[in-house]
Symmetry: C2
Subunit: 343 residues, 2 copies
Amino acid sequence: MPMDERKLDVLRAIVEDYVATQEPVGSKALVERHNLRVSSATVRNDMAVLEEEGYIRQPHTSAGRVPTDKGYRLFVDKLSRIKPMSPAEKRAIQRFLDGSVDLDDVVHRSVRLLAQLTRQVAVVQYPSLTRSSVRHLELIAVSTTRIMLVMITDTGRVEQRLCELPGPTDEESIMALRRQINEKLVGKKLIDTPTLVQALVEEVRFDLRPAMISLSTVLLETLVERGEERLALAGTVNLTRSALDFPGSLMPILEAIEEEVVLLKLIGETDSSSMVRVLIGDENEFVDLRSTSVVSTGYGPGTTAVGGLGVLGPTRMDYPSTMATVRAVARYVGEILAQNSQN
Amino acid sequence: MPMDERKLDVLRAIVEDYVATQEPVGSKALVERHNLRVSSATVRNDMAVLEEEGYIRQPHTSAGRVPTDKGYRLFVDKLSRIKPMSPAEKRAIQRFLDGSVDLDDVVHRSVRLLAQLTRQVAVVQYPSLTRSSVRHLELIAVSTTRIMLVMITDTGRVEQRLCELPGPTDEESIMALRRQINEKLVGKKLIDTPTLVQALVEEVRFDLRPAMISLSTVLLETLVERGEERLALAGTVNLTRSALDFPGSLMPILEAIEEEVVLLKLIGETDSSSMVRVLIGDENEFVDLRSTSVVSTGYGPGTTAVGGLGVLGPTRMDYPSTMATVRAVARYVGEILAQNSQN
DNA sequence: GACTGGCACTCACGCCACGGGAGTGCCAGG
DNA sequence: CCTGGCACTCCCGTGGCGTGAGTGCCAGTC
């Protein structure tokens, strides 16, 4: 059966009012603030039904109603449109991010921006190594038996490692190695490189084999094992504002937030970059975060995501605006990466 | 007049008990827990004097006493020794930090370690650029008119910048530039480089001047202007544990903590690396942090500091232990940097 | 059949009064 | 100079009470 139109209006009104006031909303206040064109008694009946169906609940008898996770879910899926941002806001975002000088800066600026605009805790994942591709590899001799390996990706990320060589190696050999490694790897997706690196060992000049073997170990580490993704975080302050939304203390939440693995699972598992995802309340897998919602999306220079970003806050959150902001920031970050990677 | 010996004992006992229990300490409890060999009435007299002199105060009439900032100051300066760490603890620190693979890792690990050991908010400043010296500069052509400039410092820090050239420049010219720049700058303190870079413009081959001018701009930016220091932060959770110590909300404190400039001022202004500094309560310049203390020190590969690290917590803090931990971590971080920089 | 007005009921919350307990200040005596 | 004793202060937890917002239900109306 199709759900009653007015009941949905009531639910929407409840969500909006509750988000705005942070207080359980009663039938009378509802008919006053929204023009529902029916009496409070009618609304009460609808509310009783909505409660039975699990979309709202009463904190205590004789208190107003509060949306449940299920209620928010319905609201996000069916009852709201992502609120478009004003051109002024868009310009502000763009202007702020355009000032960035390097990748670090882009990430830091965007995470702060996100936190500021949404007034929630913001997270930005650095462009994932495994999903980017190699722009350049540089070998720098720091002594005759030690090389610093510097890798630059198309997203502008730079990784460096020190490599111990089995024996003294002259500048000319290092140059040869550099040339061959670059020929083989530049432009390749990092995820595809391991086999290429294996092959390289076979291809280099015989006397360079030992050095190449050492290098390949470090290369593989840098390329793949270093799957450990980095994160930037901002706006933890904003948790205190919504302290009342969290039963008990903020402690478990702050703890979860400091756990990078947790955050990565929450915002990092995106594949396509176009959709904004919303996890409401206990839809996420972490018990400590069962009263928080996550709004996240992927971003990347093109249509494939190289990283994720998002915000985290109480389930009582202005989803339409938050989703708009997250989407907009992701879009601009993607554009900036695209600009930087075209060479 | 020299202060009465017993009065100092009383003050010490008050600080220790208050730090341990987080509750105002009364005269009776004091004589029971510490063997002061006098009666509670005597202690009460001493306490009255200490209060008059401003070392302790009563939250309310008929409550126990609590140390004032001035009391903590006296305690830190005169009444306590830095508590030596057990060999086991030392080993644990060393083992944990030794696993680090690069500079980023060292910083992250040490900040987490510090937060964990002290159960406070920990801050570690990345090795300051201006105080390190140049190990290597690399120019990488990403197209005929664009170069990526990569600088590696002796502390292992890597900075990169994109540089737009005024016109197409071939590989050979870039190599010439690279060689000359490196000859001039390697081994130099970053703080000394600006004049050297200026000189470089005059010294290069005539046809490379325009390129060198572009490069010098970027170089100067990278070397100096980028004075913006980076920080790692951990353990904000620990604030919630001591929430009761902070009048009102955690909000201003969390806000201050997210302000990098503030943190840098608090922990970064060290010059010599050997001393642990303690700022108690409103001894720091930020009103929002007037009820927090900062224990910090410098660290570096040798005796000069290249960065600062420390922890931040309520004035009610176990200073002897915290100071010991901060000192120990700084020492080991310094050692690791020293290992990495000898090549 | 759907909506409305009315009414009794429930329960969180703020207020106040009260008693216990911990701690103090002071004083007289050793 | 220290100690035991005593009266006093004041925080804090507890329990009773009134108020008001909000509900559920029912009978009446369009």
